[in-house]
């Protein structure tokens, strides 16, 4: 077969079409900001959860606490209903210590986040997430079970193409 000019044009058209199709597929499937925020929450859940099967030593627990703290901005705000001592502004260092101490109090911890509703600001740099969180676990010393559910409102900030938790407002799901 002799390759003619029109064959080259056809080949160029097919290549162009494939490139455009590839770009369209990438554009449609690429994770949006909302998807990235969902992943950030899923990551938080993964880090917080603690199973009895995996015994966690002090050093891995501290590393985990630092990993969780790194998911927050340098200074993050907490506003927790009826728990004024947990409310306030915390640096990552303080947050890591608090998380380490809190997780150490439990043998098992399970966090589940539901009804996640995300609003990303037009500038794509700020977002507000509203969700419900259920934390259940077993206390280490008393063996007491914890099962609490709260309504969360969380502000997120995008810094260096990464979403970070900036503030949390935690209140009762149903308030008298």
């Amino acid at each position: 077969m002799v390759i003619k000019g029109k064959h080259l044009i056809y080949a160029a058209c097919i290549i162009l079409f494939l490139l455009l199709a590839g770009f369209a597929v990438w554009y449609i499937l690429k994770p949006g900001e909302e998807q990235l925020i969902r992943r950030h929450f899923a990551n938080l859940v993964e880090q917080i959860n603690k199973t009895p099967l995996k015994k966690e030593g002090a050093i891995p627990a501290m590393a985990k606490a630092q990993k969780i703290a790194a998911m927050f901005t340098e200074q993050s705000q907490f506003n927790v209903d009826a728990l004024k001592w947990v409310s306030g502004s915390f640096s990552r260092e303080v947050l890591a210590n608090n998380i380490f101490r809190s997780r150490a109090m439990f043998d098992t911890l399970h966090l589940s986040l539901d009804h996640l509703d995300i609003e990303v600001a037009e500038d794509q740099k700020q977002a507000v997430a509203r969700l419900s969180a259920q934390l259940s676990g077993k206390m280490k010393n008393s063996g007491q079970d914890l099962d609490e559910i709260r309504d969360l409102e969380c502000n997120l900030k995008k810094i260096d193409s990464e979403w970070l938790f900036e503030s949390f407002r935690i209140h009762k799901m149903i308030k008298k």
Binding site: D114, M173, I174, K176
Partner: protein
């Protein structure tokens, strides 16, 4: 004998069977049809449709607890009809189903909407300073709750069973985004 499924030949066979009075053949075709492609496709469509219907449209619920006595029994079964508020907004007095964590729902009555003030005075409900007639409450209570304003985008929900002490009864304001629907009956 061949099991029946939807072809011209087998439709004729069913007709013949009906004429001859061989009902067992029809019953067998109905209850144990040949696993033909069409039949499997039908089963798949039925399963998918049922799953979507019962997951998103008409959710089955088990009632545990007597906070809605006597309107709803302490133990029972009902469906949550999710399209109930797709095109309308709940009103005061409506019984609604609210999402409460994973796999748990609350069945309550809306007594006040956003911006309203709510108060209990010796068991009597006052909304916006006016006494509310509640024929669905059969046992009077001695609840006393100071006046409060319902926040924006919230409903104020209370159960019909006021015979329990106030601190043991789960009630209060809840964000409207947790609204799942209305009970079907």
């Amino acid at each position: 004998m061949k099991r029946l499924y939807n072809t011209e030949e087998h439709r004729q066979e069913v007709k013949d069977a009906l004429k001859d009075g061989r009902f067992w053949l029809i019953m067998r075709a109905f209850f144990f049809p040949k696993l033909a492609r069409h039949f499997l496709l039908r089963v798949l469509i039925v399963i998918l449709t049922a799953w979507c219907f019962f997951k998103f449209i008409c959710m089955p619920l088990v009632i545990k607890g007597g906070s809605m006595l006597p309107t709803y029994p302490e133990r029972g079964f009902l469906f949550c009809w999710t399209p109930a508020y797709w095109f309308s907004y709940p009103e005061r007095g409506d019984v609604v189903v609210m999402k409460y964590g994973r796999g748990v729902m609350l069945l309550k009555r809306i007594v006040a909407l956003e911006g309203d003030t709510v108060e209990f005075r010796n068991g009597t409900l006052f909304v916006n300073g006016k006494e509310v007639s509640e024929p669905y409450v059969k046992k009077k209570s001695d609840w006393d709750l100071p006046e409060r304003k319902v926040q924006k985008n919230h409903f104020y929900l209370v159960g019909d069973n006021r015979s329990v002490p106030m601190d043991q009864h789960v009630f209060g304001e809840m964000h409207k985004r947790y609204l799942a629907g209305a009970p079907l009956w």
